[in-house]
């Protein structure tokens, strides 16, 4: 006899993902879907897709989905959640979407203590539009809009989103994770599940920042890209829990 130890979660639609080979957006999609399955909330979840490589996320989750304008997913999510407070609402956003054009929306969804979960994909690049600098691109990183390497004097410094949002009283839970190793993927799963659970318990705003790869725009193989997460990204974006209002209670 045999037992299925790993299979496609129900909440992940059975269609091919459009992501590039080895792009870890796919891993995070699966983790979110697994979480939805495990919590049994597919029928009462509404997801918000951003503008970015994950724009087509509306095709990939089996719950109701909305495609929001670039950066505005937190505002759209707020509109949904304030209309349907008993439903589960999450956004899935890239670093350009959340930390550049959507900065105000991200800060204020936290400040407003919206009982919503953000899955934030930090891949230090604008994937969708072809590899431009993101607010989270590392110093020295070569992108199509920082062709001589990101220079703090010209393009400024990378933004650490979890650290910034943790300063806001409304943030209930903020954790930074990565998907470069099996252990980290499992930790990411745990963090995502915790974030959704906190929403179910009405704890307020939760964000999981996932350090994710973009092999194509980084000009690396998928395996090299995960390596680069370890050697370059994580040192600048330390993993860990930046806020957890349930921690010491």
């Amino acid at each position: 006899m045999s037992k299925v130890v790993f299979d496609r979660p129900h909440a992940l639609s059975d269609v091919p993902l459009h992501y590039c080979p080895g792009c870890t957006h796919g891993i995070v999609h699966r983790l979110v879907a697994q979480t939805i399955d495990e919590l049994g909330i597919e029928d009462k979840t509404i997801g918000i897709a951003p503008v970015g490589c994950s724009v087509f996320a509306y095709n990939y989750f089996e719950c109701d989905m909305i495609q929001a304008a670039h950066g505005r997913a937190p505002a759209v999510a707020t509109g949904v959640k304030r209309s349907l407070p008993d439903k589960v609402v999450f956004t899935y956003q890239g670093d350009g979407d959340l930390a550049a054009i959507g900065t105000a929306e991200s800060v204020h969804i936290a400040a407003r203590v919206e009982n919503i979960t953000i899955i934030f994909i930090n891949n230090a690049i604008y994937g969708m539009t072809g590899g431009q600098m993101a607010p989270t691109s590392l110093l020295g990183q070569v992108t199509t809009t920082s062709p001589y390497g990101r220079d703090p004097k010209i393009q400024g410094n990378p933004i650490r989103v979890c650290e910034m949002l943790a300063t806001l009283d409304g943030t209930a839970y903020a954790e930074r994770v990565a998907v470069d190793t099996v252990q980290h993927v499992n930790a990411t799963k745990k963090a995502i599940k915790k974030a959704f659970q906190m929403q179910l318990e009405g704890k307020g705003f939760s964000i999981v920042e996932v350090i994710s790869s973009c092999p194509v725009q980084w000009g690396k193989t998928p395996v090299e890209a995960l390596e680069w997460i370890r050697t370059d990204m994580i040192p600048h974006y330390p993993l860990g829990v930046y806020k957890d209002i349930t921690a010491n209670s």
Partner: protein
């Protein structure tokens, strides 16, 4: 026997499963091209599989199903 199944036409030949299998029993087929034009992953020595699901965990395209003999 433990069983690892690949949804071949979904595979993009990214090689992450190959890199993360602790038993080193996955390779990208050099000859086959799937419908999408990729060289899909395949298992070479299925009997060595420990059903750890590390391959599946790291697969971005949820290509892999893992069953454990019990």
């Amino acid at each position: 026997m433990n069983r690892v199944t690949f949804n071949v036409d979904r595979c993009k030949g990214c090689g992450l499963c190959v890199a993360f299998c602790p038993k080193k029993i996955i390779t990208l087929s050099s000859d086959i091209l799937n419908a999408k034009g990729y060289h899909p992953a395949q298992i070479t020595e299925p009997e060595k599989c420990i059903a750890c699901a590390m391959c599946a965990t790291m697969c971005p395209d949820t290509v892999i199903k893992v069953e454990k003999e019990i």
